[in-house]
């Protein structure tokens, strides 16, 4: 289990920190390491490969080059040589490039929405667990009630807001800042995904609260917020990291479902979910349109899940005996 580090440690000998131990354990888990590298690769490729000149624009249509097969090249009407790594869709858009740009959207929704839920969940859980008593009971009852919400439905209601809030001034400002209204989607998903995180953190804080280093901090006269943010929260990081890693794929799935239902990303923009939707509609005539984004999406989720499991084993060796 986690043994809380002293608030300020003046290390005399180079001890083996919790993080180092965990990293060493993780390194031995080949599947988790492979997943880690693949995740990093996917992130780098989706965010930086589109910057390379020569990668076609994902939204440029070529009416004369519709539904090209993969690994083919052709000359478009304006005499340019176009190479299709993964073929083109019925509008002549480059599928490879659309998958890259779709990955940007899916991954950023995954990470940013997780970040939103992480922030809310950790603060809520830590405050509730630290204060305890009546306040804790009420705060956790609220979480219980929210658990009973059909959260998919709430996200759908919220995401229909996204389409119509463009006229509202603060929203328009943020739209311009981010380039589109996707940030609202991050907020919506993050706003419903924090519950489990809050429960985990609360449990951790409650068990940490009774330990000596918190008594020490309190007897030094530190303020409550300082104790919560500087001493309690850092010590809950292990389980939080694990759960965060598992939240990212869950959020990405949620975004994909929304986009699949036509509520998330709006055309011509793409996310992996909306690409899979387009592919599913045209599966009979052009299976590649479904298969390529589905494989990339599935592989990413697969890796994130394995990474989460690996991190759990690494950070919490007790549970990994089996």
């Amino acid at each position: 289990m986690l043994s809380p580090a002293p608030a300020k440690s003046t290390t005399i000998e180079k001890g083996s920190s919790l993080g180092r131990d965990a990293w060493l354990r993780l390194k031995k888990n080949h599947l988790a390491m492979a997943s880690l590298w693949f995740t990093i690769l996917i992130i780098l490729v989706s965010f930086f490969l589109p910057l390379v000149p020569g990668i076609p624009d994902p939204n440029t249509t070529h009416p004369d080059l519709q539904s090209m097969p993969a690994f083919s090249s052709a000359t478009s009407m304006d005499g340019k040589e176009v190479y299709y790594l993964l073929g083109s869709d019925p509008l002549g858009r480059d599928v490879f490039s659309r998958i890259l740009y779709g990955g940007r959207v899916s991954l950023s929704v995954g990470f940013l929405a997780t970040f939103v839920s992480l922030t809310i969940g950790v603060i809520y859980g830590a405050v509730s667990g630290y204060l305890g008593g009546r306040i804790d009971a009420v705060m956790m009852r609220i979480v219980d009630i929210l658990y009973a919400l059909p959260f998919m439905i709430i996200v759908i209601i919220l995401s229909t807001y996204v389409a119509e809030m463009g006229d509202w001034k603060p929203v328009r400002f943020l739209n311009e800042l981010f380039g589109n209204s996707l940030w609202l989607l991050f907020l919506c998903i993050g706003a419903v995904e924090w519950l489990t995180m809050a429960r985990i953190v609360r449990g951790q804080v409650r068990s940490l609260k009774g330990q000596e280093f918190i008594d020490a901090a309190r007897s030094l006269g530190l303020s409550q917020s300082r104790i919560i943010f500087r001493h309690l929260i850092p010590n809950t990081l292990g389980p939080v990291i694990v759960y965060t890693t598992l939240t990212v794929p869950a959020v990405m799935r949620l975004e994909a479902i929304l986009s699949f239902l036509g509520l998330g990303v709006q055309p011509p923009d793409a996310s992996w979910g909306s690409l899979i939707k387009e592919g599913a509609d045209l599966m009979a005539s052009d299976p590649g349109l479904l298969i390529y984004p589905a494989v990339v999406f599935g592989l990413t989720l697969f890796c994130l899940n394995f990474l989460g499991d690996g991190l759990r084993d690494a950070l919490d060796p007790k549970s990994s005996k089996d």
């Binding site: 658990y147 389409a163 509202w168 599913a280 697969f302």
Partner: protein
């Protein structure tokens, strides 16, 4: 006595939760931008005003809320704007059985598939069988329903011709839809079952049973199963919530006329009473399920009664 009190407090809590959810969705829907009368065809201003008056939308929001609650208590969910001439009660009565059947079949399949896989993998822990099963399960978690659904339709309906695509609305879509849902949730259930069975199997009373010479199968099913199944029972509550989301996707893939389709349309068109009615029905379903899970758990595992 203890159990009765525990269940009573749970019941009260469910009622409170239902009230909060109804209130929350009422304001969530009503405060949303746009409205049900913003059609593509321009309706004259005075007609819109009159319609608003007819539906009571000209009154202050708290009054509307009170009126809404008053109707709700009588079981009247109001008219549907999107489905002209239908009340929300009628829309839900027509489409909810479709979703409910789909969810029930999916869940049954998930349990029938997931629990044996989990138990089997736990019994053969850290063998090639276990690894193979668990890799398959993790793969299943990562292939979303909206990929599996179209693929199943393509393979079994179009390629193999086992189901008739022309008769989408009859049994074929049912079966494929339930299988899509069931396969997905069976992966979660298999993982859960395996984890908790392993935990139970490593406890002392299992070792005692082994030492006594109880046959392995009897240990597995008579001693370990009851404890091992508890987390799966606890998962059924959240599973229902997940199944609702999953059934939205499956309904959209197979064109089933379920509640999900109506709900998505209602949310985009601001069909207030249909939104609220749908959420109320779903919340009722989840809360009932959670309550049943509590009852089942209290019966399966006496410790939950004392702990709460």
């Amino acid at each position: 006595m203890e159990t009765a009190r525990f269940l009573l407090s749970r019941f009260a809590q469910s009622l409170l939760a239902l009230f909060c959810i109804i209130t929350l969705t009422f304001f969530l829907a009503r405060l949303a931008p746009g409205g049900p009368f913003l059609d593509e065809k321009k309706i004259p201003e005075h007609l819109v005003e009159q319609m608003k008056r007819n539906y009571g939308f000209d009154k202050p929001l708290p009054v509307q809320y009170a009126m809404y609650l008053g109707r709700l208590v009588k079981g009247d969910l109001g008219p549907s704007f999107g489905n002209k001439g239908f009340t929300v009660n009628e829309v839900i009565a027509e489409s909810f059985p479709v979703s409910a059947m789909l969810g029930a079949c999916g869940l049954t399949l998930a349990l029938a598939l997931g629990i044996p896989i989990g138990v089997f993998a736990a019994a053969r822990r850290n063998t090639i069988v276990d690894y193979a099963l668990m890799s398959l399960v993790t793969l299943g978690i990562c292939v979303p329903t909206f990929v599996v659904g179209p693929l199943l339709g393509e393979i079994f309906a179009l390629k193999l011709g086992w189901f008739d695509v022309a008769l989408w609305e009859n049994s074929s879509a049912w079966i494929l839809g339930s299988v899509t849902l069931g396969l997905y949730y069976s992966t979660y259930i298999a993982r859960l079952t395996r984890g908790s069975m392993i935990e139970v199997l490593s406890q002392d009373f299992i070792r005692t049973a082994k030492a006594k010479g109880v046959p392995p199968l009897a240990i597995l099913f008579k001693h370990a199963f009851r404890g091992g199944i508890t987390p799966v029972v606890a998962f059924l509550g959240p599973a229902i919530a997940g199944l609702i989301g999953g059934s939205f996707v499956v309904e959209s893939v197979f064109g089933l006329p379920g509640l999900g389709q109506h709900f998505i349309k209602a949310a985009t068109n601001r069909d207030y009473w249909l939104i609220n009615g749908t959420v109320t029905v779903f919340a009722l379903l989840i809360l009932t399920m959670n309550f049943l899970v509590d009852v089942l758990q209290a019966w399966l595992d006496p410790r939950t009664r004392a702990n709460r």
